[in-house]
């Protein structure tokens, strides 16, 4: 019945055909090209190119800094989402709108602004550098840029969950004598966990691929503050295409694994909510 009713609408063949051909041309064909070129390389060659000392150092920085940044966002994102949903205070709506700023701001501008902020003569660097906290042109700068880039993810995944949260449960816990902290840890936190993890994974996925903001603030010294996407660009500039392809394949594989994890987490969140 439902299936027949759907077919009443026209344009299925046209729109699906257009969607598939557009997606095929713009996304799938170029991606297939990367896989083809990867198959040209022998397995041993590919492994050697993907695991040079310099590449390993770049992965360590990329994955390590992305993990720390996503973790910072999980903690502060939960705090921000909580404050924005639960409390009324002047400027709340302004801050709520501002959370999307990292989505709207071009990454190059973000990197430029953060590096000048944390540089030795910058607004924050002026106070932090004498204390030994160097935010610009160091691995710490990578973490700062990636934290900025991933900031909206946890907040935006958590907000709807918090809004739908049944306050009655908290009330019941309070009535039964639980302290506020205990209620949060044993009742609220477990309910929020799937959404926080989803936001964490989204921020992590975004951070691993990020390029624009990081190269302005990182210093980009090989083995020290050089991220994996930058190493791809450097390999291309050296006309070392196999080297670039091998590192890109590693990043792509990690992206696909994270995509699968995010899909599972999102299913978990919606199952939890119903």
């Amino acid at each position: 019945m439902a299936a027949r009713a759907f077919r009443v609408l026209p344009g299925f063949g046209l729109t699906l055909g257009y969607t598939l051909s557009y997606l095929g041309l713009i996304v799938l064909l170029p991606l297939a090209m990367l896989l083809l070129r990867l198959l040209d390389l022998s397995w041993a060659e590919c492994w050697r190119l993907a695991t040079t000392e310099r590449a390993l150092a770049a992965y360590r920085l990329t994955f390590g800094a992305s993990f720390i940044a996503a973790l910072l966002n999980a903690v502060f994102g939960t705090l921000v989402a909580w404050v924005l949903v639960r409390y009324q205070f002047p400027g709340r709506r302004f801050l709520d709108a501002l959370v999307d700023f990292p989505f709207a701001l071009p990454t190059a501008v973000a990197g430029l602004a953060l590096s000048s902020l944390f540089a030795a003569n910058g607004w924050l660097g002026r106070w932090l550098v004498p204390l030994g906290i160097r935010g610009a042109f160091t691995p710490l700068g990578v973490v700062l840029a990636l934290t900025f880039i991933g900031l909206p993810f946890v907040v935006r995944t958590l907000q709807p969950v918090l809004q739908n949260f049944e306050r009655e449960v908290e009330e019941a816990a309070a009535t039964l004598g639980a302290s506020r902290l205990r209620t949060f840890l044993t009742i609220i936190a477990p309910t929020l966990l799937p959404a926080v993890l989803t936001g964490f994974a989204l921020a992590l996925a975004r951070a691993i691929g990020e390029y624009g903001s990081v190269i302005f603030i990182a210093g980009n010294k090989p083995y020290e503050s050089e991220i994996a996407p930058l190493l791809i660009v450097i390999r291309l500039e050296e006309y070392d295409y196999p080297g670039a392809i091998a590192i890109a394949a590693v990043l792509l594989a990690v992206s696909f694994v994270l995509l699968a994890v995010i899909n599972l987490l999102e299913r978990w969140v919606s199952a939890w909510q119903h």
């Binding site: 299925f12 997606l23 090209m33 660009v233 291309l236």
Partner: protein
């Protein structure tokens, strides 16, 4: 459908539950922490861009923007967005129509594929186009023999931008069109309207705010894309430099004022995007509230 919605409306309106609240001190502390975090990571960088751009006064600022290469970069960015945004809007409309209004096998996979560009590093996006159209590939050599330039030229920049902005409009429209169902379209068709007429007068008005929302986000990304465009640009000042690439070039030339002047234009674009976005969210909520008005009048 009505269940979760009603509970949301109720919990929003409900008075704070007794005993289920933090003390005033804890509350102030949490708000303070959140404000400091957002202040350091969002407000300070934003203020910093404008402060640095205007550091040497308005005249220097305007002179930096009047530089020929910078003006060429602004023109190229506008051109790229003017090509990429309409194409991806058309794609988003087609994809949302097929996915939201029909049932077919492999739909979940298609939705995942549409979102794919979001999970791929911009640098990898640039690289795959370089592999496809560069001199390394047979296609690239054929294009070169026929004097068609794609890589390190404007077409490459447009293609890279298309790739990274594919999902924006589609992902806003799909859930929206799914939630409106097909009854209204079916009614219009039964009354004798053509397919196109039904689309223009029934479907489009019901998703217009979501569509605009997708378009402005798509536009912000199209104008601001750095990584993918950087790989394919060739970085020729005045010819293949978009605004974000111009920022990088000026920065490397130690022209801080120039870099921050261009950056301030992009920051302004981001602010405008946020203002439009908030406006559209507000309009959407208002329309939604109006639609809810009638059932809400019945005793609860």
């Amino acid at each position: 459908m009505a269940g979760p919605l009603r509970s949301r409306l109720q919990s929003a309106a409900a008075a704070p539950a007794r005993g289920a609240e933090e003390s005033g001190l804890a509350r102030r502390l949490l708000i303070g922490l959140a404000v400091v975090f957002l202040g350091v990571f969002l407000l300070l960088p934003l203020a910093n861009v404008f402060a640095q751009a205007l550091q040497k006064g308005w005249d220097t600022y305007l002179a930096a923007l009047r530089e020929p290469d910078t003006r060429a970069a602004v023109r190229l960015t506008l051109f790229v967005a003017a090509v990429a945004v309409p194409l991806n809007t058309l794609f988003g409309l087609a994809a949302a129509w097929a996915i939201a209004k029909f049932e077919f096998r492999g739909k979940a996979l298609l939705v995942t594929l549409i979102d794919l560009p979001f999970s791929i590093s911009p640098v990898v996006a640039g690289l795959i186009y370089l592999l496809l159209f560069g001199l390394q590939s047979p296609l690239g050599r054929w294009l070169d023999a026929h004097d068609i330039r794609i890589v390190f030229a404007v077409p490459g920049i447009v293609l890279a931008t298309l790739f990274v902005t594919v999902p924006f409009v589609a992902r806003e429209l799909i859930p929206l069109m799914q939630s409106t169902g097909t009854e209204q379209e079916q009614a219009a068709l039964t009354l004798g309207a053509s397919g196109w007429r039904t689309f223009w007068y029934v479907t489009l008005p019901s998703v217009k705010w979501g569509l605009l929302y997708g378009i402005i986000l798509c536009n912000a990304r199209a104008m601001g894309e750095f990584g993918a465009v950087s790989v394919l640009s060739g970085h020729i000042s005045g010819q293949t430099e978009t605004m974000p690439l111009r920022v990088e070039k000026l920065y490397h030339e130690y022209n801080a004022t120039g870099a921050f002047a261009v950056a301030s234009l992009l920051a302004l674009l981001a602010l405008l995007t946020l203002v439009f976005k908030s406006l559209l969210e507000w309009k959407q909520q208002r329309d939604f509230a109006r639609a809810q008005q009638a059932p809400a009048d019945t005793p609860s």
